[in-house]
Symmetry: C2
Subunit: 337 residues, 2 copies
Amino acid sequence: MPKTIVVALGGNAILQPGQRGTAAEQYENIAVTARQIARMVADGHRVVVTHGNGPQVGNILIQQEEGSAAVPPMPLDVCGAMSQGFIGYYLQQCLGRELVTLGLDVPVATIVTQVVVDVGDAAFQNPTKPVGPFYSEERARELVAAKGWRMKEDAGRGWRRVVPSPDPRGIVEAPVIRSVVASGAVVIASGGGGVPVAVGEGGHLLGVEAVIDKDLAAERLACEVGADVLIILTDVEKAAVNYRQPGETWLGELTLEQARAYQAQGHFQAGSMGPKVEAALRFVEGGGELAVITSLSRAMAALAGETGTRIRGAAAAGAAGWEAPVGEQGYRAARGR
Amino acid sequence: MPKTIVVALGGNAILQPGQRGTAAEQYENIAVTARQIARMVADGHRVVVTHGNGPQVGNILIQQEEGSAAVPPMPLDVCGAMSQGFIGYYLQQCLGRELVTLGLDVPVATIVTQVVVDVGDAAFQNPTKPVGPFYSEERARELVAAKGWRMKEDAGRGWRRVVPSPDPRGIVEAPVIRSVVASGAVVIASGGGGVPVAVGEGGHLLGVEAVIDKDLAAERLACEVGADVLIILTDVEKAAVNYRQPGETWLGELTLEQARAYQAQGHFQAGSMGPKVEAALRFVEGGGELAVITSLSRAMAALAGETGTRIRGAAAAGAAGWEAPVGEQGYRAARGR
């Protein structure tokens, strides 16, 4: 049965470790990523793609600083929106190409996305997320004075701005995203965790200087579009307990209870596997059918139940259980390969 | 009767002459612009907004150059997509605010837009559109050698890149834009004339280094979403013959034939009123009901038939003729003011 799937792309879906981030490098990576996503569409699923933007918004912030003598620098929320335009454009072009190659007439669109955060979120009391360039101590002091930024010294490499990383509360453009998904198009949304906005007086939204974790935002998105499946792609095939330690064990099918227990024992690293597992758990706890954590190249196999860390919701676990309708082998057969 | 209206915003809807382009300046201008657009929505119209991006993409290009020692610069198509993210985000936030204030529950979304151009377009043989920073002669020579750019010396101010300005042929994301408009949302699309793409082998799209005139792209957009009205906003209330010369005459209601005749006599300046009149003419020749050229502050009055240069299609001119259902006075009455 066709499902609505939210795919959260990890950083290496766009930029590989060691790359400088030229346009050609990023286009090539996104082309490879698009091939996997197109296969989900070919299987009949409705697909919503979301993605990180760390290196891209980092570079945009460096350009704001380097160009600041000539051009007024834009604030973080605008830089985030710019990165959504950039990455969304490459994704829609590459995805469009793959779909055309597969003979599929499926539109693809990027929707610039704002994500609501709560200004009362504890994160605003303790900004922890470093963003943008390294500054000299002198320049850092200037920026603190001029802009009220919080800066931290970073292990001898210079001073760096830190911003809060509040929890995502709602996807502002969810009604539009839902209607585009319902129309049969592939949607790219909530890039970089979305542009964080706070609800002010009279229900008005205003951008805030923060960064939302992209996997937690993906969970909100999946929930608000009524997705059946949330698949979080990263650089490993499965989550593990005792990761890179004695007793390392890769995790396959997990119940909610097992996953929460491992999480409580501290097996999933903050800023890495931690938010991915948290997003997966929130999704199935909120009624989602299946959450999967796996690597890009294993995405189809993981949807087919062959690999990945898979957490099922109570309803799905009690039912006969869902597998992707085609899977690796079926996909090849369908494509005549 | 509610209409589908494509609104093409002029440059001063986002940045005023003499402003440097700080985020605050641009946000403030866009907030003023959004107030006018929200009034059209309040009148029951379906609205699609498009906009220029000249100063914004210009600044982004300067930042690519200034930051190029630290960060790989992105090509023009990516910079265009970034500007769509930036301006779209500000527009959707400000429009959302105005709609909430008016008590309207109407979603707003920006759709990153690619616009197809023909690589056989004569514009590619004769790049005329200057973009980005002024360079020294030495740096200009480097860039010509490294990137194959075309550069021109600009009246003693330095060297500047010139790119082709081909005709827009089609809006890639039109099916999605149509479905979002049909859902009742306000759409922001085709910013900066859209990201120009060419159709390559196998129907694949690829970004090209060019700039599409935003008014001509607005006409394509209006045509492809089946708009009734195209309204092109600029810094004057009406187009004129003998503009700023003896015999200057502001133009009100025009037939297609009159407008084409004035155009043939050279009354409308290339790069200024020229493409606006051309876009208006193409729209009504293609079956559009009404094309209007006016200023932002007079938009509602022009829709109501009180001002602006208005060109009607043959069908509309033959019929009883359409006026906006509410207009300036009606709007105030409806809002109890």
